[in-house]
C-alpha cells in the first residue's frame, strides 16, 4: 500500500520532471543558468546531493559491515538499493549539465583511435572515472548481497568487498569535493572540503534511509543516533566555513541542524510522521546547502525548469526505488521480519599465515589486491606519460586520484570471479538462478566490450552538420586569382593539415584523422576539378567543409594550385583489380587536398 502511494507520488513528480529535462536538453544550459560569473546551476547541486546520498547508502551497509557493526539484511539491502538508484539519478545531471552532451566521452582518460587523451589534470576527469567505477562496484556489491543467501562463497566475499568499498566511498566523495576545492572561486576554497563533503553526504544519506525506513514501517535506532551526531558534525563544519569566509545561511542551519534537534523529543521520535518530518527537513536543508554552494554569487535563478529538475530527480529516485523494492521483495525480505540490531555472526575463520603464495588467504584476498595495485601502478605510469598536449607537464599527483578506484575495480573483479563461478556451477543443476547469473555476466561483458569499442573509436569524425550558415558578406567572386593570392589562402586554410608544400603535416593529421591514401597528379586529374571543388566547399568524411569561409572561385583556384603542387613524375601506383575496386568505392577518403603525400 505504502509502496503504491509512493509509486504514484514518484510518477506524479517524474512526468513533469521529464518535461523539464527534455526542455533543458533541447534548449541547453540557458534555461537554468546563469550568467557570466555563475556557470554551474541546479544540475550540479543536484548531482552533489544525490551522489552524497548514494555514498551514504554504501557507507551504511559496507562500512558498518566492514567494521563489524551488525545491521540486519533488510536495512542494509535498502541502503544498497538507495545507493544504486541515487547513483543513476546523480549520473544524469553532470551529463545534462554539459553544453555539448554528445562530447562527454572525451572526458574518459583512455587512448582513442586518434591518439587524443583527456586532460588528467582536471578534477572532472577524476570525477568521471571514480564515479563510473563506484557505480560498477556498488552494483556488484548489491548483486552479491542479493545472492549471498544461496551461496556461502558469495557471503564470504562480502566483507572483503566492503573493505574495498569503504575507502572508495571516502575517496570518491573527496574527488567530488575537489571539483570545487581546486578552483579559484573564493567561496569554494578550503582544505577541509573533502571532510565537509563526506560528512554532508553521510548525513543526508542517513536522513534518506530514515525516510525509507518510515515507509517500510519500522525504525533502526542506530541510524537515528548517527543522524543526531551528524547534525552536530555538520554544525561544526558550517561554523568553520563561517569563520573562514563569512558564509552563513540561516535556512540551511534551520533545516539541517536546528530541526533535527527534535530527535531529543520523545513524542516526535516515536511518531512516524515526526521521524519523516525531521528526515525530510534534513534532506531539504542539505540540498539548499549544495544549491547555495554551487551558486555562490547572486543572482541565483530558480525558475520552473529548476523546480522541474528537482522534481525529476525525486520522482525518478522514488519510482526506481519502489519498482526495484517491489520486484526484489522476496530476496530482500527473506524470512526475516525483524529489524534492528542482530547478533553478530561468527566471523569467517582466517587461516594463520602459512605459505606466502599458496595459502588460501593469499589466493582469495591478497592476490586480487596485489593485482589491483599492479594494474593501477601500470595505468598511472602510463597516464603520466600521456599529456593532453606537448606543452603540458602531467605529474604523478595529477593521476594519483585515479589510483585507488582502479585498485578497487581490479581487485573486486578478481575477488568475485571465483565465488561467482562457484555459485554458477553450484546452481547449474536447478538452472534457474544460474541462468540469471549467466545472463548478467554476459550482459556485463557485452556492455564492457561495447563501451570500450565506442570510446576507442571516439565520436564521428564527420564534419559538423552546422556549417555554411552565415553568409560571407561582400567579396563578389572576381573569378581570377593569381598564384600568390591562392598560395596565401592555401597557406592559411589548408596547410595546417596538408602542409605548405602539399605534403602532409603527418604528425598533426595522424593525431586527428586516419591517414588517407596518396594521391598523384594522375589521380587528381581523374577525380576532376568540379568534384574537388565540391569537396572543399561541402566537405567529405574527414575533410571539413570550407563553404562558410571561402568562395567557390577561391576553391577552384585552390584546386588548380593543388594540381601544381602535385608531383608529375610519380606514376600512379600499380594496383591490381581488387584494390582498384576498393579505391574506386571510397574515393572520398582522400578528398580534395588530403591528397598529395
Amino acid at each position: 500500500m505504502i509502496f503504491r502511494i509512493l509509486l504514484y507520488a514518484g510518477l506524479a513528480l517524474l512526468l513533469p520532471g521529464l518535461a523539464a529535462l527534455g526542455y533543458s536538453l533541447w534548449e541547453g544550459p540557458a534555461v537554468w543558468s546563469l550568467d557570466t560569473h555563475t556557470f554551474w546551476g541546479t544540475p550540479v547541486s543536484l548531482f552533489v546531493f544525490w551522489i552524497g546520498i548514494a555514498h551514504a547508502g554504501t557507507l551504511i551497509s559496507a562500512i558498518l559491515l566492514a567494521l563489524g557493526v551488525p545491521l540486519d539484511r533488510r536495512t542494509s539491502m535498502l541502503a544498497e538499493l538507495t545507493t544504486l538508484c541515487a547513483l543513476l539519478v546523480a549520473a544524469i545531471y553532470p551529463l545534462m549539465h554539459l553544453g555539448v552532451v554528445e562530447n562527454f566521452y572525451m572526458v574518459i582518460p583512455f587512448l582513442d583511435a586518434r591518439g587524443s587523451f583527456a586532460n588528467v589534470r582536471s578534477p572532472l576527469v577524476w570525477d568521471f572515472c571514480c564515479i563510473a567505477i563506484y557505480a560498477v562496484l556498488s552494483l556488484v556489491f548489491f548483486a552479491i548481497h542479493l545472492f549471498a543467501d544461496r551461496s556461502q562463497a558469495l557471503e564470504d566475499v562480502r566483507r572483503p568487498m566492503a573493505w574495498l568499498l569503504f575507502p572508495l566511498v571516502l575517496w570518491v566523495h573527496t574527488i567530488v569535493s575537489l571539483d570545487f576545492a581546486v578552483t579559484f572561486v573564493p567561496e569554494w576554497r578550503g582544505a577541509f572540503f573533502p571532510l565537509y563533503f563526506i560528512a554532508g553526504a553521510i548525513y543526508s544519506g542517513l536522513a534518506m534511509v530514515n525516510v525509507l525506513l518510515v515507509a517500510e514501517g519500522c525504525r533502526v535506532r542506530l541510524l537515528e543516533k548517527l543522524m543526531m551526531v551528524g547534525s552536530f558534525v555538520m554544525l561544526v563544519f558550517w561554523a568553520w566555513n563561517f569563520a573562514l569566509k563569512g558564509d552563513w545561511n540561516f535556512s540551511v542551519f534551520a533545516f539541517g541542524a536546528l530541526l533535527p534537534q527534535l530527535w531529543w523529543v520523545s513524542a516526535v521520535r516515536e511518531s512516524p510522521i515526526g521521524r519523516l518530518a525531521i528526515s525530510i527537513s534534513v534532506l531539504f536543508g542539505l540540498w539548499l546547502e549544495r544549491f547555495f554552494l554551487v551558486m555562490p554569487a547572486e543572482p541565483r535563478g530558480f525558475g520552473y525548469v529548476d523546480a522541474g529538475l528537482v522534481a525529476f530527480s525525486i520522482g525518478l529516485f522514488t519510482t526506481l526505488l519502489v519498482i526495484l523494492r517491489v520486484k526484489l521483495r522476496k530476496p530482500i525480505e527473506g524470512g526475516e521480519l525483524l529489524f534492528g540490531e542482530l547478533e553478530e555472526a561468527s566471523a569467517p575463520v582466517v587461516e594463520p599465515h602459512t605459505e606466502p603464495l599458496t595459502s588460501r588467504e593469499f589466493i582469495v584476498l591478497r592476490f586480487p589486491l596485489l593485482l589491483g595495485v599492479l594494474v593501477a601502478l601500470v595505468y598511472t605510469l602510463w597516464a603520466v606519460s600521456q599529456p593532453v598536449f606537448d606543452t603540458v607537464a602531467v605529474a604523478i599527483p595529477n593521476v594519483a586520484p585515479l589510483f585507488y578506484p582502479i585498485v578497487a575495480l581490479v581487485a573486486a573483479i578478481a575477488l568475485c570471479i571465483r565465488p561467482v563461478w562457484q555459485a554458477v556451477s553450484a546452481h547449474n543443476a536447478d538452472g534457474c538462478g544460474s541462468r540469471y547469473l549467466k545472463i548478467a555476466f554476459a550482459i556485463c561483458v557485452l556492455m564492457f566490450a561495447f563501451f570500450a569499442g565506442v570510446f576507442y573509436a571516439g565520436g564521428s569524425s564527420a564534419p559538423s552538420k552546422f556549417t555554411s550558415y552565415a553568409q560571407v558578406p561582400g567579396e563578389a567572386d572576381s573569378g581570377a586569382f593569381d598564384t600568390l593570392r591562392t598560395r596565401a589562402v592555401w597557406n592559411a586554410r589548408c596547410s595546417g593539415c596538408h602542409g605548405t608544400d602539399g605534403k602532409f603535416n603527418a604528425k598533426f593529421v595522424r593525431e586527428f584523422y586516419p591517414v588517407p591514401q596518396k594521391l598523384t597528379a594522375a589521380r587528381l586529374d581523374s577525380l576532376g576539378e568540379d568534384s574537388l571543388v565540391h569537396v572543399i566547399m561541402y566537405g567529405r568524411t574527414n575533410m571539413n567543409p570550407y563553404g562558410d569561409r571561402i568562395t567557390e572561385a577561391e576553391a577552384r583556384a585552390l584546386v588548380r594550385y593543388m594540381r601544381s603542387l602535385a608531383p608529375e613524375d610519380i606514376p600512379a601506383p600499380e594496383i591490381n583489380d581488387s584494390t582498384h575496386e576498393i579505391n574506386n568505392s571510397t574515393p572520398e577518403t582522400n578528398d580534395s587536398a588530403e591528397v598529395l603525400q
Binding site: 544550459p29 540557458a30 586532460n119 607537464a393 569561409r549
Partner: protein, 291 residues
C-alpha cells in the same frame, strides 16, 4: 478505471509532456532567416555595454612577462599585449573591432539587460579587459578534454570542436573572461559573419579572446612560405583591437623580441595586472606612468 484506460491516459500524459517540452522547436520561434542584422545593431550593443560598464579591477605591479616555463614552450615568442591606461579613454572602438574580427554574436536582450554580453573585450572601470592569457592558466588546468590549451608561443587557445561545455574553465577563471554560448548564435539570428576567416562558435561551447590567433597563423604561414628556414617572430602582426584603437593605447607584440613594438613601448613604463591574475603570469598587462 481499468488497465487499458489507465495505460491510455498514462501514454497520453507522457506524450503531452514531451510535446510541451519541445514546444519551442515545434511551435515557437523558428530561426528567422530574413531579418538581417546590420553593423549598427552591433554598434548599439557596444554603446549599451559601455553604459553598463563593470567596476574596475584592483591592479598590482607586475614584472615584464618572460618566456614560458612549460615544456615545449617557445623561447623566441611569447605574444601578448600592453594596454596604455594613460592613453585609453574607453571609447569602445576596440570592442567593436573585436566583434567584427571574431564574429561575436549579439547577446539575447534579457541577458544584455543584465549586463551579460558575449564581447571578448569588456570595459572594466574605463579600462579594456579581456582574457589575460596567463602563462599558468587556471582555466586550462581544469578543462577535462584539453579544449582549452596553451600554444607554445603563449596564447591561451580554444579548440571549439573538443569542448564539451562543462564550463569548468569559466568557473575557474578569476577575471570571468570566458563567455559561454548559451544560445545558438546562428539559429537565434543574432550573429553576423563579418570575417570569413573565423568560424561562428556553436551552441554549448566556451569562447574567449584568442589574441587574434587567426592573424598570427596566417602571418606565420605566409612567413614560412616566403622565408623558409627562418623563425617567425610575429613581426608586422597586430590584433584587431590594437589596430582599431585611435589613441594607440593597445599594443600587440612579442614579449621576447627586443625589436617588437610591444617591448619598445613597455620598456620604460610601469606594468600592472589585475590582482586576481597577477600571480598567474599574465601575457596582457596594463601600462601606466613612466619609470
Amino acid at each position: 478505471m481499468d488497465r487499458r484506460e489507465f495505460l491510455k491516459i498514462l501514454s497520453a500524459t507522457v506524450a503531452g509532456f514531451a510535446l510541451f517540452g519541445c514546444r519551442d522547436g515545434l511551435l515557437g520561434d523558428m530561426p528567422v532567416k530574413g531579418a538581417r542584422l546590420k553593423l549598427a545593431d552591433f554598434e548599439n550593443e557596444v554603446k549599451f555595454a559601455l553604459s553598463k560598464m563593470k567596476p574596475g579591477m584592483e591592479l598590482v605591479r607586475v614584472p615584464m612577462p618572460a618566456a614560458l616555463k612549460t615544456p615545449g614552450a617557445s623561447q623566441e615568442n611569447r605574444f601578448g599585449m600592453a594596454i596604455d591606461l594613460d592613453a585609453c579613454d574607453a571609447c569602445g572602438k576596440c570592442v567593436l573591432a573585436c566583434i567584427q574580427e571574431n564574429n561575436i554574436p549579439l547577446s539575447a536582450p534579457e541577458r544584455a539587460n543584465r549586463g551579460q554580453f558575449m564581447h571578448w573585450i569588456e570595459m572594466c572601470g574605463g579600462a579594456p579587459a579581456m582574457c589575460f592569457h596567463c602563462g599558468d592558466a587556471p582555466c586550462e588546468k581544469v578543462c577535462p578534454t584539453g579544449a582549452a590549451n596553451h600554444t607554445p608561443d603563449g596564447v591561451s587557445a580554444m579548440m571549439y570542436k573538443r569542448c564539451t561545455g562543462s564550463r569548468f574553465c569559466g568557473a575557474n577563471c578569476p577575471v570571468h573572461a570566458r563567455k559561454f554560448n548559451f544560445d545558438d548564435p546562428v539559429a537565434s539570428g543574432r550573429s553576423l559573419k563579418f570575417n570569413a576567416g573565423v568560424p561562428v562558435r556553436e551552441k554549448g561551447v566556451m569562447e574567449k579572446c584568442s589574441l587574434c590567433l587567426q592573424r598570427l597563423q596566417d602571418a606565420r604561414h605566409d612567413f614560412k612560405a616566403l622565408h623558409p628556414g627562418e623563425s617567425f617572430r610575429g613581426r608586422g602582426v597586430t590584433t584587431a583591437c590594437a589596430a582599431a584603437c585611435p589613441k594607440n593605447a593597445i599594443i600587440f607584440g612579442n614579449w621576447l623580441d627586443e625589436g617588437s613594438p610591444l617591448v619598445r613601448a613597455a620598456k620604460d613604463r610601469v606594468l600592472y595586472a589585475p590582482k586576481a591574475v597577477a600571480s598567474l603570469d599574465p601575457s596582457i598587462v596594463y601600462m601606466r606612468g613612466h619609470r
